[in-house]
Amino acid sequence: MFIAPYFAFAKKSFLGRSAYRFEHFMSILNTCLQIFIFAGIYIALYNGRSEVDGITISMVSTNFVLSMGLKAVFCVDDYFLPSKVWDGSIANEFLRPVSFRGRMLAENMGNAAFNVIFHFLPALIISAVVIGIYPPENIVMLLLFLLSAILGYGVLWGISFAVQAAAFWAINIWSLSTLKDVFVNVLSGTMIPLWFMPEWLYEALKLTPFPYIYFTPVQIYLGQLSYRQILQQCGIQLVWIWLIYLLGTLLWKKGQKKLVVQGG
């Protein structure tokens, strides 16, 4: 079957993750500590006020728990493709009868599935107990949240692929990848909820893909959007996925022509 080899790749990376238990516990702890830091800061910022601009402290906590949790799930290895370019093994990948990009996505999705079960859920439960979060507005919104989160993953994965494809030209992918992370961290609402961004900046951000990674799903979860708005937001997510996909394809095609692998 067409999908079968990709499923095998996903399964392989899922199982591969089960090997490093201690590291994994530490990473859950890291996520929780991050959430606690931000929750602590916002409790101090609210200073007893019940709400600021119509946003309650519980909404802020929920934003941090969900977006940090999703961030742990959407963990993309930016060096997957570059490392294959550096050691030349990319040449073998071209010979395989599966799409390399599809394989990358499949492996990363296996990883993401592992993270949902063994990272997102434990972190969610721990932080729900310690700082408390809102339950989803209703079951429909929960399902729409999941749908929008998957689309958000698509946006982030596409950006990462484009960064990785730059490895055909640039050696210093570390800088590019790190700068991308700076933009994503600051502008997507994981470190400062976008409600509290200056108005002009928030309006400008809507023209970029960043708010559609974590913030849209969070808003849906909190019931801040009407069905009509949800449809519109998910539509924009799809458009971004498509645009970034085109960019990735362009880089990937050009890169293949450019690629020179040192013989050995």
Binding site: N30, I37, S175, V186, I192
Partner: protein
Amino acid sequence: MKSDTLHVMAVYTKTIMKAWFQYRTDALLSSLTVFFREATGIIVIYFTLLKFGNLGGWNIYELLFLFSLLFLTYGIMIIFFTGLRDFGKTVRNGGFDRFILRPRGLLFQVIFTNADWFAAVGHGGLGVALFIITAGEVGIEWNLRNIVYCIFTVIGGVLIQGAIFLLLAALNIYLFETNSLKELFYWNMRKFAGYPISIFHKVIQICMIYVVPFAFVNYFPAQYLLRKPDMAQYPAVYMYITPIIGITLYMLAYGFWKYSLRFYKSSGN
């Protein structure tokens, strides 16, 4: 101390600089990237405070002043202690065996054969820039007393963090891998240290003062210079003892390191 110690140090430092700056554009880009990555926290504080005005009574400049001490000390620290930060790698790939065979002190070699200059330039640059800008804004009077205080406190802050790295490096001899411990006890605690500790839960405050004493790297020194009301809940003497804590911790960590060396077993092959 052998007579050619300074000469050996100079040769090592020259070689390291050459290695790090072999590819100039790349070195510049990497240093700039570290700068921007670390500035993430600054940008977030800036936007947050733009909205909320103050955090636990600290305004934006006071908060950034607090942050600047963290970068400044890390920038200086990493020139000396990169070898300890990456000590796990040295042990695993057998590099430490080579050090043992050489006729110089082990810690001397670990310290002077590596320095992460990108981090030094990135963190240090950010630290100096922030420190200069914010120190003016929060109205610190630069009399002799404050200058001497700052110099000793920065040295103390460097030593506190150096002691943590030295302790973790010594633990490497038993455990081979301490990255997760470093993540937990150094990097995560450092994330809390960017903010006034008084805003956090009591458990975190106790951790920051008595377990991983980051509070003495930036919070208490900043309090000496700023005198915010939230200092009232801590003993006033804490503002003065950063250098003492730095030296004491470093000596303790050094003792543990010396003791642990006896148990060193090569990673083999």
